[in-house]
Amino acid sequence: MSLKNKLQRFKEQGHLSQESTKKIVPSPQILHEDKWKQLQAKPYTVDGEHIVLRELCFPLHTRHGHYRFEQLFEVMEAWAEAGMTHPLSTADRMPRDLLFFDTETTGLHGGTGNTIFLLGYSRFMDDHVVVRQHFLPAPEVELVLYQSFLDYIHDAKDLVTYNGKAFDWPQVKTRHTLLRDSIAALPVFGHVDLLHGARRLWKHELPSCRLSIVEKEKLGIHRESDVPGAMAPMLYFEYMQQKDPQIMEGILEHNEKDVLSLITLYIHMSKLVLSREQQMSSIDERFEIARWHEALGADAHALDHYRVIVRSGDRRKVHAMAAMGHIYKKQKCWEKAVAAWEYAMKESAHVPEEIYVETAKIYEHQYKDYEKALHYTQRAMEVWRKKSTLLRYPAKSEWNAYQKRIDRLQKRLNK
């Protein structure tokens, strides 16, 4: 029995591990310069080997979703003026330093064998925005792909991506490592990954933080007849067999929209974080922005945003007050902390028990007011009890902690 027959038999019996493949009849033709031209793309040649480069220009006043591209200038100025440390900040950068970057690959898992076949980015030039896409027409010219990429981007400073920290850039590094003996090193870029911020702002609000959903719900961008990114591997394999540029058209456009949307998204998120205007963001967004500042240790900015929420009179003001209390406590402003928390207690019957505990602690340790401390501890325990009846197994240790605190306070009162 021939080896191939054997393999065929094993395959039928399901003994070989399975990869899904779609049978495509191969075509021998290699380059279709005319067809590429229709897609606004042309060959880029190094030492007789070529890749395909697609380039598109957009005037600065072009509107993409809710914003015009040139609005990037305002937000970058705003960052420079704000003088705060924030992961979104591009304070000391020029617009052309930023590379709004996205890739398309042959697989969805990270790993050495996952090939990047499209490196795409948008970038600000003097009087326009350019979208440039480096496309790999055959696997053996990968070196040219990265050489051309390095030629164009070596003077950029920051990447702006969507999940690029976990996926795109490590994958670029992986593939670059395979070529490392024949090519210059990759530049060391700063990196703004907008997915992290998007998750902070909209995790609870949106069904998922996929870029297409954020575009539709937050940026006013509606894609028509878009090829989903998940189709990219299949389409590329089909292209590998047939070499017809038409097959790649949908993916090129998809990537083009992605890298343009990154500009819009960056403008939008920057405005949310920087603006104090009431109408700019929803209360929920503002609350998340405040928490973001708080997590970064920017207390003053956090307090600013919490105050806006309190002033709005929205139901979330209770949460904002509670959060402000924590910041004041951290700053050892006991009076302000207690005031904020007592305000929250007055406004709402559903304050988490830890607020009562924290208030009790300040009364006990700072003001030596054991009566008030006992009062708040007892209320904390009530809230905890109510909550615990909903649980099947209330934690014994928590109950003990309350009881211990109450005993101690009563002892002090009885002295």
Binding site: Q13, S17, G107, H109, G111, T112, P139, P233, F237, Q241
Partner: protein, 780 residues
Amino acid sequence: MIYTANIHSYNREKRVIIMMRKQTMSEILSQLQQEARFSANIVRWETIPAREARTVSFPDTLDSRIRETLEKRGITSLYTHQATAYEAVRSGKHIVAVTPTASGKSMCYHLPILQTLTEDPQARALYLFPTKALAQDQKSELLELIGEMGLPIKSETYDGDTPANIRQMVRKAGNIVITNPDMLHSAILPHHTKWVSFFEHLKFIVIDELHTYRGVFGSHVANVIRRLKRICKFYGSKPQFICTSATIANPRELAEHLTEEPMQLVDNNGAPTGVKHFIFYNPPVVNPQLNIRRSATLEARDITERFLLNGIQTILFARSRVRVEILLTYLQELIKRKLGPKTIQGYRGGYLPSQRRAIEKGLRDGEIIGVVSTNALELGVDIGQLQVCVITGYPGSVASTWQQAGRAGRRQGESAVILVGSSSPLDQYVIQHPEYFLERSPETARINPDNLIILVDHLKCAAYELPFSEGETFGNAEIVEILEFLTEEQILHFSKNKWFWMNDSFPAHNISLRSASQENVVIVDITERGEEKVIGEMDRFSSLTLLHEEAIYLHQGRQYQVEKLDYEEKKAFVREVQVDYYTDANLAVSLKVLEQDERRMSQETEFGYGEVSVHAMATIFKKIKFETHENIGSGPIHLPEEELHTNAAWISFPEALMASLGKEQLERGLAGLSHVLRHVAPLKVMCDPQDLHVVPQRKAIHTGQPSIFFYDRYPGGIGLSEQVYKEMEMILSQAEHLIASCSCHSGCPSCVGAAEDDGGEKEMALTLLRVAQGGNMHVS
């Protein structure tokens, strides 16, 4: 130590033992020697004398910090094998060191590697252990050593349990990375670009427990090593291999086959050993007509209990998972009142890793005094000093018997090993001919890295890791045709003299090194509603006979009944029950020859070898009562047929036999002979009897002749039946010897199987053997 003076009557055999105080091991041993009931069943009591150490002084080149640390530990010289290994590795050779358990084998690699690291702090070493547990164990030992030496060496395990932040440190700066082949296969090699400096500076690859890399697992690992060497070459390193192995017949050949490098064998063991008593125990005959002996399981239980009750740490080995659980149930019941149930634990393959680790720790701490284990513990997990090892039934090979026996007294001092024979033909042969075991060289370990299915799997992984160039080799394998096949399948893409990976999957995730079938069946406990939990897993083929509906599945001494086996979804749902029986299932097998590769004649009988297709289907199961082992019920099993395409060797008897013997007699003879061969053949080729199946056919499909087939139980075959074909004459003569020397009248479980009202099985089997060896078919 004074035991409370309560007189406990202990009554199974109407004996009364008055336990005034705990006995020492020598006291128990001399009691066993004197006690008539026990001593009558001792076939042989072999005392293996203590052995003096053979040492050499430290090599001059050894770094003073290493020397001083060893001296502080009271080590002032090296055992001969350690010194030889050190010098050989220093001179750039690949080595395989073969010495018994507890001979300081790991120093064979620690020493030269630590020495190199004192000279070159950039150097890296990869330690491969077959299991995570072993890796953990070695890590603690190594860290202690490095700590005492005060060397700036970073050593860390890299497995599924390693936290993400540590992983990055290990990749970038770990001098010694300790892992297992599975992790290398699915996590390190496919991400080699994250390990650049590791691969650039990789100087040593340690393969510990080399002997475990045999059969299917070994064949997979050989291919993982081909991939590893390919990646090393890409980064410009050429590491040295240091292997260590338990005693097998062909350590050097196995190491060379696995690594495809020339090896120097280091076997001049210089470690001392204490006195070891090796006792061959044959349970008494309870039914002289049928030559049926008392159950080995029950005998082993009674012997083990004696040691346990005196607080002597004892390990009890059983051949199957089911046996382990049965013995565990018995012993926990007996010991519960005196020592507490947790002091005796089971240990076998199906347990979850966390459970296994807790058991290993309990043994080391002494909180557990008894362990009932399958051969999972054959591996060198350091569980501290066990004094006694009781083996229920011959483990099937000389090598694994010594491995199990090595569990007792591994750190010197007096120890005892008691081998309790079962009624199986092989056991009876070994137990009645102890010299066969004691004088015989251990078995040969085989792998077949070029098994087509395994090779294809790893070629995919290799192509994912780096494109293949035309003319590139993959170890000694022929690969061009396979690469072309994968290109036709559009998994690879050929362009400019290279094959590129062109698929969206991650191939290593679809390929498991451990099991023939790609997916295991998960066992889910549904006893408590809302509290369903996974308690274990099992390979698909075993699940046919162990997890069918109504099967009793035993886990940590608890009984579960299988309520539903979802074969499609690979899930078995079980519910805890308390019953007084266990279940045993039958597997019906049909087989046809696809292609014959080899043939030779022995007079009118033909021996053949080739490719076959096997169809297996579970048919019925029986319920068997504990203690009495009687059959108390049965039922059908409804599960799909499994198909297997593999290699087989066979014996084709002349068609004329049918006429001269009669259909019924012939069938009985074939069945009887198969029963013997099933036990004898695995002996010759060193494999678990589970890996090589023997099937008789009155009328083989391809010839119409009476035949007996031996087939590899893995798709594509792993070289077992090929070996059977080569050694057929030897196997047949051993089978004849076994049957002829059995004392039964016309067949018993110890030779041709239980005879049905003198069906003549024994005589028929002998007739067939004579014919197969070119003799006369007429019954004398």
